[in-house]
Symmetry: C2
Subunit: 156 residues, 2 copies
Amino acid sequence: MSLEIERKFLVKNNDFKKASYQQKTIKQGYLSTAKNSTVRVRVSDETAFLTIKGPSNESGTTRFEWEKEIDINEAEQLLLLCEPSIIDKTRYLVKNEHLVFDVDEFYGDNLGLVIAEIELSSEDEVFEKPTWLGKEVTGIEKYYNSKMSKNPFKDW
Amino acid sequence: MSLEIERKFLVKNNDFKKASYQQKTIKQGYLSTAKNSTVRVRVSDETAFLTIKGPSNESGTTRFEWEKEIDINEAEQLLLLCEPSIIDKTRYLVKNEHLVFDVDEFYGDNLGLVIAEIELSSEDEVFEKPTWLGKEVTGIEKYYNSKMSKNPFKDW
C-alpha cells in the first residue's frame, strides 16, 4: 500500500508522440467504482495487475493505492466480471527531465480524449511543463478512468 | 480462477464444537458487493486473502472464485477501505467423512447466527448429514456474508 500523488492534464496536440520512448496497449475494467474505493483489473501488453485505490484527498491529487501483479489469463477472466464498460487505450511514456508523463490516448466510447498524467513524490513538487501540455484536470471526477468507464467521452 | 461449489445450512445445536478439530478467527470486509461480483478482504488468524467471486448460478450452489494470499498488514489497511460493516466470526472446521464442514459462529451485529458450509466437487455430490445440521439455506441471499455485512442478523 502506498500513496499515489498524481496530476492530470489535457493535451494540446500530438507532439508527445514524437517524444515518447515506449508505448503500451492497456485494457482495463472495474470490479468496483465506489466512492470510497475502486478495484481495477488491468492488462498492459503481456502483464496484468489488480489495483485497489482509496478515496482522493480534497485536491484530487493523492490517493492510497494497492497493486499486485496477477496472472494474465486470470485477469482476462476477471475482466468478464467487471462493470460495463472496458477502457481501451494506448499509453505513451514521455520523459520530462527526471519524471515520466503517461499520456493515454483513448479508444472506443472515449475516442478523442487524450490525458497526460504525471506521478510526483509530493503534492508541491515542481516540474517543467512540455509545450503539448494543456489544461489541468486533476481532481475533476469525469476524467477518472473509473468514471469514464460508465460515462464515456462520447456522452459528454 | 476456479469454480466454488458450496452448500450452506443452518445449525441446530452446538454439537459441532465437540467435533471440531480446528478453529480460526476471521475478520472480513467487502470492497464491493455488486450483483455481478464481490471483492472480499479476509484476515484469518495470521494469514490474509483477497477474494473475488462471480455471480452464483441459478441454484446458488456454484460461483467463480479467484483468491490470492496477501500481506496481512496490507489487508488491515484494505479493511479500512471496505464498505460498512466488517464481519467477525469464528470458523470451526469439522470433519465429515472425506469432507470438511466450515461452521461459522458470527459475532457483532450477526450474533446468534451459525452457518455450516460444505465445499463439494460437483453439485450432486452426496454427503452424510451430521445430526447438528439444520435447514438448508443454499442460494438464499440474506445468508451471503456479503449481504450480512449490510443487512445483519439483528435487523432481520
